[in-house]
């Protein structure tokens, strides 16, 4: 019997505590810098090394490259770069292997759409997704280096 009253006391005490919920759609949820959100892709930096597509556990990255239009430069430039967010699990492996940080994570996470087709994002879309880009991308780099752990 005493235990019941103790429990009632706990719940009553909690009534006065501050609320812990977020007013989410009205106010954005604060996320830490390392948050793994939708990728931002920078075509300029991409060297078409294919590593992101290879490392992707769900094979959601599609990419092709072409010869650099400038004949004096070696290497290739990216032509098509798509991510299928129907199956992307935002595991961060693609940004981890990218040697040039052409693909980086952002803190955006709102992907809900009314159509599955909308989840197929192309290079342009990924490039325009340039808000809240993650600052710290490779913690395996020595501290202090660009993009390395702080």
């Amino acid at each position: 019997m005493f235990g019941l009253l103790k429990g009632l006391g706990v719940t009553l005490k909690n009534m006065t505590k501050p609320k812990v919920t977020y007013n989410y759609p009205a106010e954005p949820i604060p996320v830490p810098d390392r948050f793994r959100g939708i990728q931002h892709f920078d075509a300029e930096k991409c060297i078409v090394c294919n590593q992101c597509a290879l490392v992707c556990p769900t094979d959601c990255i599609t990419l092709t490259g072409k010869r650099n239009p400038d004949p004096e430069k070696k290497g290739k430039v990216i032509e098509i770069y798509d991510i299928n967010f129907e199956i992307c699990i935002l595991c961060d492996l693609c940004t981890e292997v990218c040697p040039t940080e052409a693909i980086v994570m952002t803190n955006n996470f709102e992907l809900a759409t009314y159509s599955r087709d909308d989840l197929f994002k192309n290079m342009q879309w990924l490039h325009d997704n340039n808000q809240n880009i993650r600052q710290e991308n490779m913690s395996s780099k020595p501290p202090g280096a660009a993009g390395g752990a702080k």
């Binding site: 019941l4 992707c56 556990p57 595991c91 913690s139 395996s140 752990a149």
Partner: protein
């Protein structure tokens, strides 16, 4: 004499208290259960088959989705087995970070259990209180590795991220807070007569049964077997730290509750000790660029919040496992359910099923 009839009741796969997509085909006589046949597999994703086509690094995000309540331990299970087979050395700081995250994850997992269990019994507020405290842990993980549930944090040879600035302090604050907060839980739950009535004396099995069904974790310890892989098949750096293995006396669900609350305490103790000794240092060992695991076979078990989470790897020397098998503790623990439920009231069903603490993602692999 009234004519009575046995009824076949399908509980699940969509039911509020089967904790996911478990289906129980129950034969009931009134409200008394005569027979139970658990039907699993609704969440089977073929992780083991998928893993055969994935490199060792790629498997790690898949393990997050097995036991989604304590993904850190899953990460560790596969990483640990791989490291064992490769004979890798892992830097100290990485192991400490792994231990902090695994133990915090155990706390979070047990909090989910306490909350959902009380929800099964019909009390709503403890559930939300538990989730508030769990939220703190998830936020800490979010800061550390950028995700709240699917961490993908550990790598073969180390961890992906070093602790960000001030993170360890936050963990320490949380540990101190949580150690105090547990008293509130005891005030709210442990003394509640209705809760005691509901849980006392139900779901009891003997030590022999538990061993034969290969139960593990708190489900085994509750019968009085002090079996904890963290101490008895020590992995990581657990041998450096002091902690108790709580065991049960009567083996009923009430005992399991107390046991898991004590395990929270012990986990917090471990985290506290790790925080005292953790030093700066590298977080990745010397790992070849392409992980080629030497030919061989290895089975290692780690203590997940639900029991012995094992990983059996057969390698053919390539960068992908030839065969990868998870010993999923929930799958083993769930097997004993039909035995426990015979002759019980249907209201005890949720109390006993909840007590086993299963995660369907893990049961179905």
């Amino acid at each position: 004499m009234l004519r009575t009839e046995e009824m076949l009741l399908n509980m699940g796969p969509q039911h509020p208290s089967t904790h996911g997509v478990l289906r129980l085909v129950i034969k009931i006589d009134g409200e008394i259960i005569r027979e139970v046949d658990p039907v699993v597999g609704y969440l089977h994703r073929g992780t083991e088959k998928l893993a055969e086509d994935l490199t060792y690094t790629q498997i790690i995000p898949y393990t997050d989705r097995l036991d989604y309540v304590s993904a850190m331990t899953n990460n560790y299970a596969v990483v640990h087995a791989t490291e064992k087979l490769m004979g890798l050395e892992v830097p100290e700081r990485a192991e400490y970070l792994r231990m902090i995250t695994m133990e915090l994850n155990r706390v979070a997992s047990h909090l989910v259990w306490v909350g959902t269990y009380l929800l099964d019994l019909g009390a709503m507020s403890p559930f939300l209180y538990c989730f508030q405290d769990r939220e703190t842990i998830l936020n800490l993980f979010n800061e550390l590795c950028g995700a709240r549930l699917t961490y993908n944090y550990m790598r073969v040879g180390g961890v992906k991220w070093d602790a960000p600035e001030g993170w360890l302090q936050k963990v320490e604050e949380f540990v101190l807070y949580m150690q105090k907060e547990l008293a509130t839980y005891h005030d709210l739950i442990s003394g509640n007569d209705i809760f005691l009535q509901r849980t006392r004396g139900i779901g009891i099995y003997t030590k022999e049964q538990a061993l034969s069904y290969a139960l593990s974790g708190s489900n085994l310890r509750v019968t009085g077997v002090p079996w904890d892989l963290r101490q008895h098949q020590s992995y990581s750096l657990y041998h450096q730290f002091q902690f108790e293995i709580p065991t049960g006396e009567t083996g009923d669900v009430l005992d399991k509750y107390h046991l898991r609350m004590q395990e929270i305490e012990e986990s917090l103790k471990i985290v506290k000790q790790v925080l005292d000794v953790i030093k700066e240092g590298p977080i990745m060992g010397k790992v070849p660029k392409v992980l080629r695991v030497p030919e061989g076979e290895v089975y290692t078990g780690v203590e997940s919040p639900r029991g012995e989470l094992g990983c059996h790897i057969v390698s053919n020397g390539k960068n992908k496992p030839w065969r990868l098998k998870f010993r999923r503790p929930s799958f083993y623990n769930l097997q004993i359910l039909p035995e426990l439920l015979k002759g019980e009231n249907i209201s005890n069903l949720v109390a006993i099923l909840g007590g086993i603490d299963i995660i369907l993602g893990e049961v179905d692999g």
